[in-house]
């Protein structure tokens, strides 16, 4: 290791938020032209370290070197100028602007001295999107109209367009399905080989890390654990390194009897993305919904729970037709829902965990005139967050002070606390670490065992395969296929999702 210059070297970094020590004397070294994984449980400090590197926040102490020279980055713009670009875990797009404007947000008028040449801007955006292979995104689309996965793609394109030396990706694939993920990996490998870019890759998905990374650094609770080459380690060892203990079966056994059908959707239609959806779910059953990004999974769920107006369709619970016009009707009828977009739809960032957890079921804690019985509320929320293993200083802390994965757990707690009979999870494990994922799976299992009816939308195929009794595969806004029990395999899901073997029905 003599005299090797690292592309990025971060030494003895410390960072506290108020009283919370988020990073304690951590280090990170990344060689030129390697993909370096940064791993650790939720709240380990990964995002915090990357925000320090990109100048979004300032370190308390420590040193950062780029190609051997110490750098003092004070703002994201300076980091950009030095060739460091980052895709944040929570996106930083401007929702009301178009895709093209977002991609070139900091270079809107480079050559025109303050005037934007729209033609040129759109042209370069189009060219870039085509080059990178994302042909189905229109450069003139408003970002907030895109699905969240496509927003992630825009974020990726934005970063890739900067010709940076160091590229940081903070959980870029948390919302992408196989197809986009593959595509992203190809782009990353290209960057590494052709342009010698150093890539720091944060993910909770082990198989991805083993697939594309060259080395890995592990953090635990804000401290540095170790750095190793990927080829010197296996999955089991990596998990042990992260959670400090061994973890047995990833998908815990579920032991429950599937009862009669409780929930049925008939002829649901809503525009292009939801066409003729028919399915039923039984008591104690976990129904998976899989499909590519943009296949209409989330749109279908939103139409069911009344978040979007539906054109037609019948929704029945226990054989009784429900008239659901808004999410409130859904919750009143005991159909609960976890949105996929945590930051915009899931949690109230400024408010305490306690307020977030009980917002769907506040009436359970209120007496006359809406008086809130705070003690009961505190007791229940403490118990629930304990069960979810939520890492927080107290349940009075605002949600924005939590790490991404822990925010997801708050969002989940809210749904669990609502005590609905039908629980619809849209990406329940988005951004949560391996240990917590297993806990969420165990939780879903116990809910199923208690007789809840569960629908789980997921982009992670392993999750569908490991967790579901039955799976629907969506394609182009309709159900392309239904898989039962042992038929649920990655191959079968891909087959339906991509539309191959259209005629081979599995029922």
């Amino acid at each position: 290791m003599a005299e090797q210059t690292y592309r990025v070297e971060m030494k003895n970094i410390n960072k506290s938020f108020g009283g919370v020590k988020a990073l304690n004397d951590v280090q990170l070294t990344v060689k030129p032209g390697e993909i370096h994984a940064l791993m650790g449980e939720n709240g380990a400090g990964k995002s915090t370290l990357m925000k320090i590197l990109s100048g979004a926040i300032q370190k308390d102490s420590g040193q950062v070197f780029l190609d051997g020279c110490e750098i003092f980055v004070k703002s994201p713009k300076e980091a950009n100028d030095l060739g460091i670009s980052i895709i944040y875990q929570e996106f930083a797009l401007v929702p009301h602007l178009t895709v093209a404007e977002n991609i070139f947000i900091d270079r809107l008028s480079e050559d025109n001295k303050g005037f934007i040449s729209w033609k040129k801007l759109r042209g370069s955006a189009r060219q870039l999107l085509d080059e990178l292979g994302f042909n189905d995104i229109k450069e003139t689309e408003i970002v907030s109209d895109l699905s969240i996965a496509y927003q992630q793609v825009v974020e990726i394109v934005k970063s890739l367009s900067r010709n940076s030396k160091v590229l940081v990706l903070d959980e870029p694939t948390a919302l992408l399905t196989n197809k986009e993920t593959r595509h992203l990996f190809r782009l990353l490998l290209d960057l590494k080989e052709k342009k010698n870019v150093s890539i720091i890759y944060i993910s909770h998905r082990l198989e991805e890390v083993f697939e594309i990374c060259d080395s890995v650094t592990v953090f635990k609770d804000g401290t540095y654990v170790d750095s190793v080459d990927i080829k010197d380690i296996n999955e089991q060892e990596l998990v042990t390194m992260m959670i400090g203990r061994e973890m047995s079966d990833y998908f815990p056994e579920r032991n429950c009897k599937i009862g009669e059908e409780t929930f049925r959707v008939t002829d649901l239609n809503n525009g292009r993305m939801v066409r003729n959806i028919n399915f039923g779910v039984c008591k104690g059953e976990v129904l998976g919904i899989s499909g590519l990004v943009g296949s209409g999974r989330t749109e279908t769920i939103r139409a069911i729970i009344g978040a979007d107006k539906k054109e037609s369709g019948k929704i029945e619970l226990y054989g009784k037709e429900l008239n659901i016009k808004c999410p409130r009707d859904a919750f009143k009828n005991k159909i609960g829902f976890l949105p996929e977009d945590r930051k915009n739809q899931g949690v109230l960032l400024e408010l305490p965990i306690r307020h977030n957890a009980t917002i769907s079921c506040l009436s359970r804690y209120t007496g006359p005139c809406g008086w809130i019985y705070k003690n009961n509320e505190t007791k229940d929320v403490t118990e629930l967050t304990g069960k979810m293993n939520l890492k927080c200083s107290s349940i009075e802390a605002p949600v924005k002070s939590l790490s991404g994965g822990n925010q997801q757990k708050v969002s989940l707690s809210k749904l669990i606390a609502s005590q609905c009979d039908v629980l619809i999870f849209d990406e329940p494990t988005r951004g949560v670490d391996v240990g917590a994922k297993r806990e969420i799976y165990a939780l879903i299992n116990s809910l199923a065992e208690q007789g809840y009816t569960i629908i789980m939308v997921s982009s992670e195929m392993a999750e569908i395969v490991g967790m579901c009794d039955r799976a629907l595969v969506f394609r182009n806004g309709t159900i392309a296929g239904e898989l039962n029990g042992s038929e649920i395999t990655e191959q079968n899901i891909i087959k339906y999702a991509m539309g191959v073997g259209e005629n081979a029905t599995c029922n």
Binding site: C326, G336, N344, L348, Y365, C369, K414, S418
Partner: protein, 334 residues
Amino acid sequence: MQLATDSCAKKTRMTPGQFFLKHNTLIIFFILLIISSLASPSFLTKQNVFNVLRQQAPIVVMALGLLLVLLTGGIDLSAGSIAAVGGMLIAMMVNKVGNTVGSLFLSVIVMLVLGVIIGLIMGVLITKVKMPAFITTLAFMTIGRGAAYMFTSGQPVRLNKELPGALWLINFGSKTSPALGIPWAVIVYAVIIAIFAIVMKYTSFGRLIIASGSNAEAVRLSGVSVNKYITSAYMICSCMAVLGGILITARAAIGTPSAADGYEMDAIAGCVIGGTSLSGGKGKVGLTILGVFTLAMIGNIMNLLSIASYPQQVIKGLIIIGAVILQNLSSKKE
């Protein structure tokens, strides 16, 4: 004031600095209080204090209503005009039917209900028709003001002392209660402040109003009818504005169509000085009241020192800017 900002800039890393930022509204209030009482001997006299307390009655009740609207992330520019409508109509009504004290109370209730209805219309336009709150309430600002002038072709309406109901209203506005000689109006708004504080802190209504302003979409998807809460904020705000107008008429013994002009701005400024966020989701009842009185105190001490009215306005504006900068600093430090 100057002193305060300086010491904070130097000490932000230290505990006293953080303490200052955390409680800045309170500390600014007391610093101003001390400076004022040193600057003018007549400032802390009972008469002056009660005077300020009574003068602020309409602004205080309007600020409470506006606080709710601001918490939902909206704004209500119509409050001042609605107050004028309320003030005019109550004078006209009492002069017509004020033979008994009972009919006065009935008139007040009718007026408050009218306020609620106006708020309901604005709320529906904002939540259902999806008109921007700024424009909707701007329209109601001009409608209200115009209506207030139309009722009597611009003539003020003097309360008729002969009628028991009208006399009661005049006495309410000018007399003081037996309790320490505190003006009646002050007692009324003290009770209202207490109700607001309790509702905002301990009831689901208060919590969901704040939640709606924090992230309306997330609240909606959690199964709460956000529109209902936003609309009720406007209903309460207009109701409070009408109450403000009634208090003005009672105090002056005359209903004027030009009354309460620009009061909504003072009320909004009071909320913001008290740390209320204009983007919603953040704001406290107690601090809002403190904000209102901070502003009132600045005006009062400048009057006592006989500073001319034009420089007064400039100074007031500068102090508002200073207070809001402090608010931003303290929310960043969190």
